[in-house]
Symmetry: D2
Subunit: 282 residues, 4 copies
């Protein structure tokens, strides 16, 4: 940016390679919108928008299955509860959905992203060291235990075995068998599952974040996009729950049903000292 900016600097500041807009023209990554409407699938369009090219049939099917697996896990999740509470407060459904999406942070929505990163790092370790999958997985597990971090993508506080694990595992395994996917990250994910169990002395199966991460890593998605795709998928559940709450007609829904009040654990009644700081002068 030079010291004498031009009008072109302003339009260049907002330049994009995603969508081209001109009067009467709308193109997504170079494809005229009217040629995609009725011919492309929604998931293929998602892939096109974030990757720049259309996926193959099998790639689209794997992404579609993974996103379906992530649409909802009920109102116990803060993302869903936030959206349900927000829509009772007199905001549009977009703002209720925004609150739900906003809570999908590093802890609530980030395990998939972290697990894709983990799989990539473990693969990098294999590439450098020539270790086999289980040896690389063991080292990763040991490092996490040494630094007291849990390995993202394994175990679930509700489900002994997450029903989404086997369903997606079958699809990704078939895609590997058919040569659609290389299978390096599937191999690593299963090795990690074995090594986590070996380290703990009890099974801690791959969860939805872990199995999604295997698919996303196999499909070549950046770790942060794994979070983005999870947000898209969970937005479906957020919408469905916000809408269900709207239909109840409730107003100002808090976490506890009235007349329940939160327990108070602070100091009891006390007088305000005579000299209160910054008190407005009379």
């Amino acid at each position: 940016m030079n010291d004498e900016p031009t009008l072109g600097d302003a339009t260049a500041w907002w330049s994009t390679g995603v969508t081209r807009i001109e009067p009467g023209l709308i193109e997504l990554r170079g494809f005229p919108i009217q040629d995609l409407i009725g011919r492309a699938g929604f998931i293929s369009t998602v892939w096109l928008m974030v990757r720049g090219e259309l996926p193959s049939e099998r790639e689209a099917a794997l992404l579609e299955a993974t996103m379906i697996a992530s649409v909802d896990h009920g109102p116990q999740a803060p993302s869903i509860a936030s959206a349900r509470m927000a829509i009772t407060c007199g905001v549009g459904i977009n703002s209720a959905m925004a609150n739900g999406v906003n809570t999908l942070g590093d802890v609530h929505g980030g395990a998939g992203q972290q697990c894709v990163q983990l799989l990539r790092d473990a693969q990098g370790l294999r590439d450098e060291s020539g270790l086999d999958a289980d040896a690389a997985a063991r080292r990763v597990v040991d490092e996490h235990r040494a630094s007291r971090r849990h390995v993202p993508g394994f175990g679930h506080r509700f489900h002994p075995v997450d029903p989404r694990r086997d369903a997606l595992l079958d699809l990704v395994s078939a895609a590997v068998a058919d040569g659609v996917l290389e299978g390096r990250f599937l191999e690593l994910g299963l090795a990690l599952e074995r090594q986590v169990e070996a380290a703990l002395g009890r099974p801690l199966p791959i969860n939805i974040d872990g199995i999604s991460a295997i698919v996303y890593a196999e499909l070549g998605f950046d770790p942060e996009l794994a979070r983005g795709l999870f947000v898209l998928a969970r937005s479906v559940g957020i919408l469905a729950h916000a809408w269900e709450e709207r239909e109840t007609g409730r107003r100002i829904k808090g976490p506890l049903p009235p007349p329940l009040l939160a327990d108070y654990i602070g100091p009891m009644t006390r007088p305000v000292p005579g000299e209160v700081p910054s008190r407005p002068r009379p």
Copy 2:
């Protein structure tokens, strides 16, 4: 809610008919998640989640086409620009997406919802009065002009004719011809387009909000769900743009490229009066 609440009141307060969760079990509207993974389409799952039942093949195809048509319209849109700016500020991609979604309010994201409502009201008028489509449409247009409101769903500031209009119109017309849809709202939408042109003396074609509204109304979606589905669709563009911006590595992206500054139009330098209210005492 009685005066002596029970533990059941707390779980009932959060009751839902969308998703059932038990250890080892996840069901969407009664369908086991593992039976949907790999068999259902994402758009059919969206329909299932917000409507409670799976759609027919043709219904799913119409919803899919309509949502694809809405995924993006470039960074000139505040929703997209907000997400692009937010992700340069050190928040997760979920928070950047939340900011984009949050801006899809009554004015930016609500025209489709308003147009579905308009179509329903106009149909109600026909049911009561027996007016034909054009007569009902004329009355609606006259009422809007009398109260100086624009008719939602018509005209676009960039596009003389929106390329998404014809593409979706062909699909919905074919569905009506095949008896998949009743066609009452398509008929009304086209009548409104004629009456708007007649009233203005120039064409103001159906835009993406209007054609989407026709499809959503024909498919039986509540007006507010039309907004919700638009939010889901536009979230794809929001993600793609947020990700493109992330890859630029920019930090704290404002609307103007540095060193450009906003024009200042307020009072020039002036002294603070000797007696400033509420000034903390020394």
Copy 3:
């Protein structure tokens, strides 16, 4: 905006009269920031920023008292609960606060704004019709009851009498007695309280939204700014609660303590039909 935009159009598009920024210079409404620091009060600065001029000492004191009255009402409020849940999900404290602020919509945060509008409308009615305060208030109450709308600013689901009512009423009454405020809106507010009680046959005292609205109306704030000032005030409680939750170290806090699950009220297990729409082709 002409058809050949200039660079000036871009900087004018973002023009502001609030703050002037130049290298080495920051002025708020024309006052150099270094002259305000240490001399102006925070509340006076709030007033300056939204109104354009500094308030008098008494005006600042009234705004300060009203904003203090609004800082918090506990975690039963969705705004507070949303922020507490969000911060356990791995987002920054800014994003947790954003979720809390976002829920302060028309229903949860808008009653004060609506009550300022009501007071202005009632005053307009008096100016036109010459009605006295009680007659104008009676008409307003009758209109609300006729259209089955509750009168904003009266009654509270927890408090028979809101302790904030009397405390603020004393301050605003004293300001009227001293000629600092005209008192028209105080007179109307008390008349509305009488007429609401007369209509219901039981007292429904002015609540925090109503008493705040009286102060904001007397101080000349636009109704929408009443909402904005409430958001600023409640942001203090949102911050305090988000921080308290952060210190608990909880992760992914939902509305119910584990292992509690929401009641499920939807369809029970059912098979997915053989023909599922939009199923990805193998």
Copy 4:
């Protein structure tokens, strides 16, 4: 949490020490709200809410000055621009403010927090090693340069010298001279400023984040609360700008004035391949 939860688990899940609510009673940290209204200052109430006790007069004055210094830096900031765009999209002023607040992430709003942490770490280094302030500061600067990280709290892209630096520096220096503050973090901050200049060979003065961090560290605020207090302060500017934009009456304000369009840098028009994945079957 045992396996048989009780109703008390639900109210305990939401327990708080901030605010006590009972019918007819509202207490902040044990102080009846009616005793604070009209006697406490807003900034003292902020302190009370996040710290649990009232501040001294001087402490309140320092916090007040620091928060005033942070209220706004104009619409070039993404936080302000986001709020201005959002309010033109048909959302409430609360949602416009939420979007502004949400952008105050690690990069846009986090430098103060990071600088408080830096000052604490440097002090910990002194406590362990007995190094003097400049020696400790030199080590911190060297470590940052070695890992190619910039030192948070120094330098500004607009201001050669930030006018807020000297104004706040005078106040904090006076408080140290009067024995109100210990001055350890002031000493370290000035040492860091010297060492940054020495390392770069040119001055990179303490900026608003750095001087705020010195005050917050001296006042004993947790680093994350420094971010929270900055969010509260900047919310004032966010409100003022959102309101100014509302008064313009603009609808759907994007970053560029129409008819300006973002530059397009992606692929040009291309045909959709005959076989599009996941295309809904006819």
